[in-house]
């Protein structure tokens, strides 16, 4: 690879590559993990990766394009809202299950 690290950094490609790695990791986790909370976390990792790609690829050598930045910020807001919502649902489900059959919540976590 003939690109020196500073060039990679300045063009934002490093962010993109890191983002892609995060997406891959998150996706792997999402597929292999069964517990909803873990899946939710995995999805957040994927999201973080995507935002990195979005921010990194929009970054030029001399100036930063504000357009992808605006997108990233909106995306993060949406992601936070959805995560909160998902977490609330998981909590609610745990509560209903606990109320329904107190002894049976162990089989909810088939640990990978």
């Amino acid at each position: 690879m003939d690109l020196p690290l500073p060039v990679l950094l300045s063009t934002g490609h490093l962010y993109a590559v890191t983002g892609a790695a995060l997406v891959g990791l998150g996706l792997y986790a999402f597929i292999t993990l069964r517990h909803p909370l873990r899946q939710l976390l995995a999805v957040n990792v994927v999201g973080a990766g995507i935002f990195l790609i979005l921010g990194g690829l929009g970054r030029g050598p001399d100036a930063t394009d504000p357009f992808p930045q605006a997108l990233v910020i909106t995306g993060i807001v949406v992601a936070v809202a959805l995560t909160a919502f998902g977490a609330a649902m998981i909590v609610r489900q745990a509560q209903t299950r606990a109320a329904a059959k107190p002894a049976a919540d162990d089989n909810e976590n088939p640990a990978p």
Partner: protein, 490 residues
């Protein structure tokens, strides 16, 4: 603020008001239904060249709202469906005390979905579409959660994955073209690796949202378990937004990129969905899963139309068939879910075999169900027939006999499973005995009229074919390409 903005802003306002008002927020629908229906009708009757920029930004940063034929029809159908479903839910007799909080959350979610759907149908900005997609998904998941938390959670996870795939595709598009506007993309898009990857990711994400076979797994449990008004909204509206965005991508933004092979993949999946969904629906013993699987099948027709639209130089027929099928399905399926909800409540069961005697006990509701059956099967006169007729004509004209065959067989299979449910209503009371006399209260009034009105509209659509075809062609991508001159908002 133009009425176009109001189509998105008003539901958000109603949502805020419903949140603040609490239990009495339910009455807002009495104001919202006529207001939104009026706005949607105004939009549908607008002269054909009304596009309007929001905010002070010029393209590529400004957000373009465009009232094309698809948007007009979808928004009108959405207003009618949500209005009717809302009035139906308003008339719902008070539930058991424990469910009060649940009933309260219903209304803000309805308005959230309304705002998201309207914005999604109008906007041409891919990132904006992402936001609307999430609004609708959020509302849809929460509505599904009112029935079964487990099904809703499954739906949520899969929908989230779909959203992220879509977002990744948008990110790649931004990186490649530095714009996310559908109209601008249409002028610059090329078939290179980045574009194909972006389109593939976005498509995969949206197919999950649209529940196209084989990515439909989340739909039947979520739709079948939710309360009837929620199921109606899920099947009618939530699924359609993904479809509309796919139309924007495949026929407009990346029309130069999509090849016949890829279109036939979508068409083939659609055809498989029609057959698979129908067979699954035939195998159900319970009414609501049957209706839910029918949605899986009906979504298939929407995508079966893709290669038919792309396969001819004059696609107005196939295009109208595709759009009208979406609209007819919205009306008929919402009507069917509402009617099914009333019927199941009356017999206090959930099996098809429990429905005996209903034709006599609740004729209005069974009529609504029957009219919805007519439209979903594609029998004349109905919107469903007009749509399938246009698609079948297109398929035969193009010599696409495989698609034609699926259209024909799909209709027959639909007849098999839908008439099974309908004829169960004509059977005498199941398990005749002294207790059958006390069989549920016969619901009349608004609750029964709402599904009847929706199903009636699906039938009436069949008489307005020419007008609807004309509307669907407004600013369609295959019509004369319009070059947008960026202008500040008036």
């Amino acid at each position: 603020m133009s009425p176009l903005d109001l189509l998105m802003a008003a539901p958000l306002g109603f949502m805020a008001a419903a949140l603040m008002l609490g239990p009495s927020g339910r009455w807002l629908i009495l104001l919202a239904a006529p207001l939104m229906a009026g706005l949607a009708l105004w939009l549908a009757l607008l002269p054909p060249d009304a596009a309007y920029l929001v905010g002070q930004w010029d393209l590529p940063l400004g957000i373009l709202l465009r009232a094309d034929g698809v948007a007009r029809l979808m928004i009108l159908a959405t207003a009618l469906v949500i209005g009717a479903v809302g009035l139906h839910a308003l008339a719902e007799p008070p539930e058991k005390p424990g469910h009060a909080a649940q009933a309260e959350t219903f209304w803000p979610l309805v308005y959230l979905m309304w705002a998201g759907a309207n914005a999604g149908f109008l906007t041409t900005d891919l990132f904006n579409l992402y936001v609307t997609l999430e609004m609708v998904s959020l509302a849809a998941v929460a509505l599904a959660a009112m029935g079964s938390l487990a099904a809703a959670l499954r739906y949520f996870m899969i929908a989230l994955l779909g959203s992220l795939a879509y977002l990744l595709g948008v990110a790649l598009t931004v990186a490649r073209y530095d714009t996310v506007d559908v109209i601008l993309l249409a002028q610059v898009a090329e078939a290179d690796l980045a574009t194909l990857l972006a389109l593939g990711l976005m498509t995969a994400g949206l197919l999950i949202k649209a529940a196209l076979f084989p990515m439909h797994g989340w739909l039947p449990p979520a739709h079948a378990a939710a309360p009837a008004p929620a199921s109606a909204l899920l099947s009618a509206i939530a699924v359609k937004l993904g479809f509309v965005i796919l139309v924007r991508l495949w026929f407009e933004a990346f029309a130069a990129v999509t090849g016949p092979a890829a279109l036939h993949v979508l068409g083939g999946l659609g055809a498989a969905a029609v057959i698979y969904g129908s067979i699954q629906a035939m195998r159900q013993d319970r009414l609501k899963p049957l209706v839910a699987y029918s949605t899986v099948a009906q979504v298939g027709y929407l995508f079966l139309a893709f290669p038919l639209v792309a396969g001819t130089v004059e696609p107005s027929g196939a295009w109208a068939g595709m759009t009208l099928h979406g609209v007819a399905h919205m009306l008929a399926k919402a009507a069917m879910f509402l009617a099914a909800g009333l019927m199941l409540k009356a017999v206090a069961g959930d099996r098809i075999a429990d429905l005996g005697g209903l034709a006599q006990a609740m004729p209005l509701t069974v009529t609504a169900f029957g009219l919805a059956v007519v439209s979903l099967m594609g029998l004349p006169p109905s919107g469903g027939f007009t749509a399938k007729f246009l698609l079948l004509s297109a398929a035969i004209e193009q010599g696409a006999f495989l698609y034609a065959g699926v259209l024909v067989i799909g209709g027959l299979l639909a007849a098999v499973y839908l008439f099974r449910a309908l004829s169960a209503c004509f059977a005498p009371l199941a398990g005749a005995g002294p207790d059958t006399a006390s069989r549920g209260p016969v619901t009349g009034g608004v609750q029964a009229v709402a599904p009847l009105a929706l199903a009636g509209l699906a039938i009436v659509m069949g008489f307005a074919g020419t007008a609807l075809v004309d509307v669907s062609a407004i600013e369609a991508p295959w019509a004369t390409p319009t070059v947008i001159q960026p202008e500040a908002a008036p």
